[in-house]
Symmetry: C2
């Protein structure tokens, strides 16, 4: 695996591959890699000649300095995992490389960046959009791979690609879960054993909401139930919402909806989501 910390040598390397007509798949990450990330790498390897992974904990998408400071950083282990997964190129830049000086611009997305994650993490999606724009312009991939776990982020990046006319296809890969339903997340590494067990309540809440919606129960009632379920596990629910899968508008019917949850388990904020397709209603 070729490892680059600077932009120019990476560009040179990729330019020669590109002129040889190699297609480039790209998996942007913040490191602390888990099986979810490796699923993205595998998807990229199945579709492309060359797979590029980036590891960069982007400060501008963290509103909370403690969250940034405590975000897991496991670069040596990440490199081993990427080598095992036969990733071709790793880009792991410093802050100085990514932000020449104080970031001069921000990107706003009408309503989409002010609801759900955007409401509780102001500025988060501008940080995401800016860093993904930088990475797209550096790597110039044919296809970029993102995990469905960060559903709203995927919506933002989809709009970013459309608006900026990035010549990049977006592939969304389903969330990878533990045996008890917990969505894989780098932040899970920060949980104690006890917190790890209690964290399954997010997925249980999503499933209960899914079933309740299919039974025709109102979301307000389901939200109260799930908040109580979280409370019973010492988990503080931040939001539980149902939106249209495509438009992200608030949704009444459960068809083509996505249910999203955010909750604090101890000091660690976790998010998860569950897509409800029409066939789920029949099941």
């Amino acid at each position: 695996m070729h490892i680059f910390k600077e932009i120019a040598p990476l560009r040179d390397h990729l330019k020669s591959l590109r002129s040889g007509q190699s297609s480039i798949g790209f998996v942007p990450t913040m490191g602390a890699l888990h099986k979810g990330h490796l699923g993205l790498i595998n998807a990229s390897k199945n579709h492309n000649d060359i797979t590029v992974c980036s590891i960069y904990v982007n400060p501008t998408q963290f509103g909370n300095p403690e969250d940034l400071a405590k975000y897991p950083r496991t670069l040596e282990q990440d490199i081993d995992l990427l080598e095992q997964a036969s990733c071709d190129v790793l880009f792991c830049p410093s802050n100085t490389v990514m932000y020449h000086r104080a970031e001069p611009l921000t990107i706003s997305f009408d309503k989409l960046d002010r609801i759900l994650e955007g409401e509780f993490r102001p500025g988060h999606f501008s940080g995401v959009a800016v860093v993904v724009s930088k990475l797209f312009n550096i790597v110039q991939p044919d296809i970029a791979y993102f995990g469905q776990k960060d559903y709203q982020q995927v919506m933002i990046i989809s709009k970013l690609i459309e608006a900026m006319k990035f010549n990049v296809q977006l592939h969304v890969v389903p969330t990878v879960r533990e045996h008890d339903g917990l969505a894989l997340s780098s932040r899970n590494q920060r949980l104690s054993v006890d917190e790890r067990n209690r964290a399954t309540v997010l997925y249980q809440g999503l499933r209960a909401t899914q079933q309740g919606l299919i039974q025709g129960l109102p979301l307000s009632e389901l939200r109260t139930r799930v908040a109580a379920l979280c409370d019973s596990k010492g988990v503080r629910m931040e939001y539980l919402e149902v939106v249209d899968q495509d438009t992200f508008e608030v949704k009444e019917s459960p068809t083509r909806a996505v249910i999203l949850i955010a909750a604090y388990v101890g000091n660690v904020r976790l998010i998860d989501n569950l897509v409800v397709e029409s066939q789920d209603e029949i099941a």
Copy 2:
């Protein structure tokens, strides 16, 4: 000259040229081409194997619907001028091609987009930044050429390139002027003969301000004088400001400063600027 109205065929055409190692120079315009634009085309032809010009009157950078409706459109004549200048490629997309649906995002630039042009044309620089981002991602030029006449626009694009890590060099080409100093502008086409003559007051005001600053006169006094000069010609000055050439901060000393003016001549809003180098002080 190859003319493209759609993105995909343009990308295919440029991809084959790029894989042959041709360098691509890019001149984005809103059409109604004049000698200023042709200077940009010539600069690009001198530096690059292939020169691409775009003609697109971008609605999202117009706050004033009348200004958008009356912006001169002279495509047939523009094509003749580009053919004579041996431009290689013209991209002239429709609104539908450039904006798939309502634009989902806006770009903000800290203070830079809220002063001068930004103050009098709210949203203008977001429109500029978005459309230039689209065009950069479509054309993927090595070098992009912009006129110094739109000085603040050049500052915005410089910050956009830096922040988004566009792999594009920015070349700024000096303003082309008529014999009496009037800066060439597509909007000059909207002036009557009488207005055209009175419009020279913008350049006269800039020169008077330059001389006054070198003599140590305060800007407030110079601003009053230039406003009176404009008034005497029936021209309404909107602003006259002096900022640092590089940082765009308000400037007290005239060294490495740029003086910027905006004024209405009849219903037509014109802008101009004059850079004050240290040697100007000695002269």
